[in-house]
């Protein structure tokens, strides 16, 4: 029986009800298993594989009916861990922190094989070596999330620390506006987002990517530990169907664009930018050896775990093996 929600608890108190709230079990007659997928950020063309999976029958073929909802990133992990949604998409580095903090989520398949965060600046102003970041004023959403983890990892790789740069925080993720306005020298941002926005404003940019300097795993699909333990087959079917849809979008980005137009009608207002974002995104989905169908790079996770530990984000009390489930779609 599902745990009563807050409102039910309060109602029970107010009415002094003797019995717990009524259960609401799944429909016995449903042909497809209904599951909920939580995505962070906002509806966007970057989530095209999920829209294709929904609309083109990839999930139905796997026996699933998927409802997509958008939540704040930390809430995705909490709700998935609590069983209020079956699946979510989260940054790998956040999964490490959440799991260490007692939030029982597990990363089961990779969505981005390349770490999407980069240091971005006007053309000719971005150092090619992280040591060159010394003295720069850098805009970032805040001291949380994958952008912050990547920035500190880069600084550490260059023998620097937070004190060696000036941090300007943009909690509303508008650091690109800060760069355009000249408030900061450099910003953190997603390679498939901020550079395109800035170039659309006529600002040519350079990037310092992190992949070759401090390998961190990218965002992926997460589930609650309880669901993984009780129904690994469900998790596998979802991850495999998502990977099939993702591969279809890599092979034919227009397929993803059309599905995204249905799920996010606003995309139609600027199809060129949406197409550019999607094409830049598909590059990040595949690693150096091509798209891996969601497989988890365990070696990369171990290296990232050590980096996150050395930076003080995690204390090592939860081993990396409890944070990932490479057996779901493979990986090594």
């Amino acid at each position: 029986m599902p745990r009563p929600r807050l409102a039910i608890s309060l109602l029970a108190l107010l009415l002094a009800a003797c019995s717990p709230a009524a259960s609401s079990g799944p429909s016995a007659s449903a042909a497809l298993r209904h599951v909920t997928l939580l995505l962070g950020f906002r509806p966007d063309v970057q989530f095209a594989p999920y829209y294709v999976g929904q609309q083109d029958g990839y999930y139905a073929d796997a026996g699933l009916e998927v409802t997509i909802e958008h939540k704040q990133a930390p809430d995705v992990q909490r709700l998935v861990a609590d069983g209020q949604a079956e699946f979510g998409v989260a940054d790998a580095t956040d999964v490490m922190i959440a799991r260490t903090s007692g939030v029982p989520v597990v990363y089961v398949s990779t969505l981005y094989e390349r770490f999407p965060v980069a240091i971005i600046g006007r053309k000719g102003t971005v150092p090619s070596d992280p040591a060159g970041l010394a003295g720069k004023k850098i805009g970032t959403p805040g001291k949380f999330g994958s952008s912050w983890h990547a920035l500190l990892a880069l600084l550490a790789a260059g023998g620097l620390g937070e004190k060696d740069v000036t941090i300007r925080e943009y909690p509303q993720f508008n650091q690109a506006d800060g760069l355009a306005a000249g408030d900061v020298d450099l910003i953190t941002g997603f390679r498939n987002n901020e550079p395109l926005r800035l170039e659309a404003q006529g600002i040519a940019v350079d990037l310092l990517t992190i992949d070759q300097i401090a390998p961190l795993p990218g965002p992926g699909t997460i589930v609650g530990q309880a669901l993984l333990d009780s129904d690994p087959d469900l998790v596998r079917r979802f991850a495999q169907a998502t990977a099939r849809a993702q591969r279809a979008v890599i092979d034919d980005p227009d397929l993803g664009l059309q599905a995204a137009k249905v799920s996010v009608p606003a995309i139609a207002e600027d199809l060129d930018t949406a197409r550019a974002v999607l094409e830049a995104t598909t590059v990040l989905w595949a690693g150096e050896s091509g798209f891996g169908d969601g497989a988890i790079d365990v070696s990369r996770w171990r290296k990232a775990y050590d980096i996150m530990r050395s930076l003080g984000f995690i204390d090592g009390s939860v081993p990396v093996e409890q944070m990932i489930a490479p057996s779901i779609v493979g990986g090594g």
């Binding site: 930390p74 909490r78 922190i97 939030v103 949380f144 300007r168």
Partner: protein, 246 residues
Amino acid sequence: MTRVAAALLSLAAFLALWKVVTLIGGYPDYILPAPELVASRGARAIASGVLWQHTGATLLEVVLGFGLGAVAAIAAGIALGKSVLIERVLSPYIVAAQAVPILALAPLLDIWFGGGLLARVIICALIVFFPIAIATMVGIRSADPLLAEMLRSLGAGPSQVTTRLEIPSALPVIFGGLRVGVTLAVIGAVVAEWAGASIGLGVLINIANQGLFDTPLMFVALVTLAVIGLTFYGLVLAVERRVVHP
């Protein structure tokens, strides 16, 4: 029952209700932490000094933002109350500004004003402005017209009518606006910090929620904000009692 005893009883009932909800709901700590867990996390945050640093920054923003917003709002409210022309010209802008979600505008204000304390104080002042300005305007207009006429017949000029009659008679309503405004100032400080800041309780909420997945610490910050709001509300009430009902 004394006021203090009633407040303590109310607090105890609230904590008991909170605890019972966590027990009945069976929520994990990362969804709804129990009050004793929040208290214990708060003690650690106080001992480490983290809570003081963030609270100090927010307090400064609240005081400066409320001060600036209240002074500007009272001045504007007097002008609006005394001049129908000014009201007709400015009211649409004031109401429209109030209707614009400050959360959407704050990131731009943060960039326009350089992202420092000044930007946060201005954002806070903007949130405070509307209820105080409207209360002041209503209060000014509530002055007895017969008394105003009598003052004028005795030779009082417009400024004397304002200072001797309209403002004193408007004080209860103005203080009503100040009470609303001071609680909004706390929200305004957090909104300003969410638009761009490195320190403050709004920042602590972000770090606890998004960076550390430390829900008890987030509750510590929320409780601290509530205490700040209650304290400032009580201060305004105390000043009101001395000024309006000495």
